[in-house]
């Protein structure tokens, strides 16, 4: 099961990068989201899996696809001058970031806990998630909400000519 969903997520992500067509790339991204939500279920967190699909695949990606359709430029444009340094730079950056993420994950206490006590069934539900958000992570939750509100007001201010 893990392999199925992991391969689904990775293949979707890879196809997203290699795909020249913007809409098809977006659909590959949806595939990758599905894989990730499957992984969430395996980790005993079906709420996160459902939210992953509702929010990311169901709302954000749809809006992105909507804008792509609106712009009517579905094919990737070739660069005017090829810059090989960009390619090598990006490869190096990916390597460094990947290594850093790997180190960070490997050293996290949650992983050690998971190795000691594997999850069985659904261990997180909406109640426990809400409790956690509003007690342990209250500051982060409020800051994220504030940030989203600021972004929304900013977007409206940019678009509206006369407020």
């Amino acid at each position: 099961m893990f392999l199925t969903f992991a391969i689904l997520a990775l293949a979707g992500a890879l196809a997203l990068l290699l795909q020249k067509n913007a809409i098809e790339a977006g659909l590959c991204m949806a595939l990758s989201f599905l894989g990730v939500s499957g992984l969430f279920v395996l980790l005993g967190n079906p709420v996160a899996a459902a939210l992953q699909i509702i929010v990311y695949a169901g709302a954000i990606l749809i809006l992105v696809l909507f804008v792509i359709m609106l712009l009517n430029s579905h094919e990737e444009e070739p660069a005017e001058v090829s810059r090989p340094i960009q390619r090598w730079g990006s490869v190096a950056l990916v390597a460094v970031l990947g290594l850093g993420a790997f180190r960070l994950l490997n050293g996290s206490p949650a992983l050690a806990e998971l190795a000691a006590k594997p999850v069985t069934g659904a261990s997180t539900n909406l109640h426990s998630l809400g409790d956690m958000l509003f007690s342990q992570h209250l500051l982060g939750f409020e800051v994220a909400g504030f940030l989203l509100l600021a972004a929304m007001i900013g977007a409206v201010a940019l678009v509206k000519k006369n407020l």
């Binding site: 659909l27 709420v47 899996a49 695949a57 909507f66 359709m69």
Partner: protein, 358 residues
């Protein structure tokens, strides 16, 4: 249950799962064709026409045109499967499946009848047993995926009407999901859980002495928002902007024919059924018989029939509304969604949150 399992040489759990899958699938596939018939005859009745009545079995048995659905099915199978040359072939093939699968999946958590004990184990009439942690979030997630079918069909057809339809549909569905979720959250709060089994249980008994204890009476504004949003999510008139046959010909499925079109059509009726089942579970007491507080003695089949009756009645309401109301204009749709339904839904949520204060 044990006898059935031993007949099939499997464990009772597996046998029961097979029965449930057959039941859910058979329910959708069994009701969708009669629904197309009900839609045509119903529309004809509303518009003072006769409707299809010519198709006949063996040239004799007409049964009020009910055979028309069968004739259509045969026709769909034998039509040439055309893919327009300018279309994106892969996605054009994929789109009907993307439309069809979510329409089928939505049923998975809906309890279709009372849970019962047999041989010491409890069996539930929903594909996913309660306590799976996904609960009512599952149909919402699946409903969110439904728009991909329309979007992919629209874009891959490479036709300007189709793309217009797809763009309208995507913006519409995302907008109406917001008000819908807030209405649903009010139900979660009052129930104290988000599992459909708990929601149905919470609606048994009487309310104010004279009404069934259904959420439609306890949260009328939430119901209003949910009901309207369900029409938008199912892409039915007055919100069928993806199709809009008088404006953009047939919208997202303009290039589709034969069995692919049939799949898209089935998906639409699947969505109507799914939406009816959701409304029934959330607001009309699910399989519960009105006024009855304890269902322990009532046979399982009766609860299933009660559920079925409510769902079919709601399906007929969907059809009735389609042939009664005209389509909205696009800006009216957005106004209604963001400036009316969303505030109502928020006020509903705040009111019930206020009543729950400790």
């Amino acid at each position: 249950m044990e006898t059935l399992a031993s007949l099939l040489h499997t464990s009772p759990a597996t046998a029961w799962m097979a029965v449930k899958v057959l039941m859910a699938f058979g329910l959708i596939m069994g009701i969708a064709p009669p629904l197309t018939w009900a839609e045509r005859r119903g529309s004809a009745m509303i518009q003072d026409r006769i409707g299809p009545n010519r198709a006949a079995l063996f040239g004799k048995i007409r049964i009020l045109g009910l055979v028309q659905a069968l004739a259509d099915g045969v026709k769909f199978f034998f039509k040439e499967d055309l893919v327009p040359p300018h279309a994106n072939k892969r996605l054009f093939w994929l789109a009907p499946l993307l439309a069809f699968v979510p329409a089928m999946l939505g049923f998975a958590v809906i309890p279709m009848g009372r849970s019962f004990l047999s041989g010491g184990t409890e069996y539930h009439l929903s594909l996913l047993d309660p306590g799976n942690g996904m609960g009512m979030l599952f149909p919402m997630a699946v409903g969110a995926m439904a728009v991909y079918g329309i979007l992919v069909a629209a874009w891959s057809s490479n036709n300007k009407w189709a793309i217009l339809g797809g763009m309208r549909a995507s913006a519409q569905m995302v907008s109406y999901e917001v008000g819908l979720s807030l209405a649903v959250i009010a139900i979660f709060m009052v129930t104290g859980g988000y599992d459909p089994h708990e929601i149905v249980k919470a609606q048994q008994g009487t309310f104010l002495g004279v009404l069934p204890n259904w959420y439609v009476f306890r949260q009328p504004f939430g119901f209003l928002v949910f009901f309207v949003c369900m029409f938008a999510e199912a892409n039915r008139l007055p919100f069928d902007f993806a199709e809009g046959e008088s404006e953009i010909v047939a919208g997202f499925h303009i290039e589709y024919g034969s069995m692919k079109f049939a799949l898209i059509g089935l998906a639409e009726y699947g969505h109507i059924l799914g939406a009816s089942a959701l409304i029934t579970t959330m607001y009309l007491g699910g399989w519960g018989i009105p006024f009855v507080a304890d269902h322990g003695q009532i046979p399982v089949i009766v609860t299933f029939l009660v559920f079925l009756t409510k769902v079919i009645a709601l399906c007929l309401v969907f059809i009735w509304v389609r042939w009664t109301l005209p389509r909205f204009r696009y800006d009216q749709l957005m106004n209604l969604g963001w400036k009316k339904l969303l505030p109502i839904s928020m006020a509903n949520l705040l009111y019930f949150a206020y009543r729950m204060r400790g």
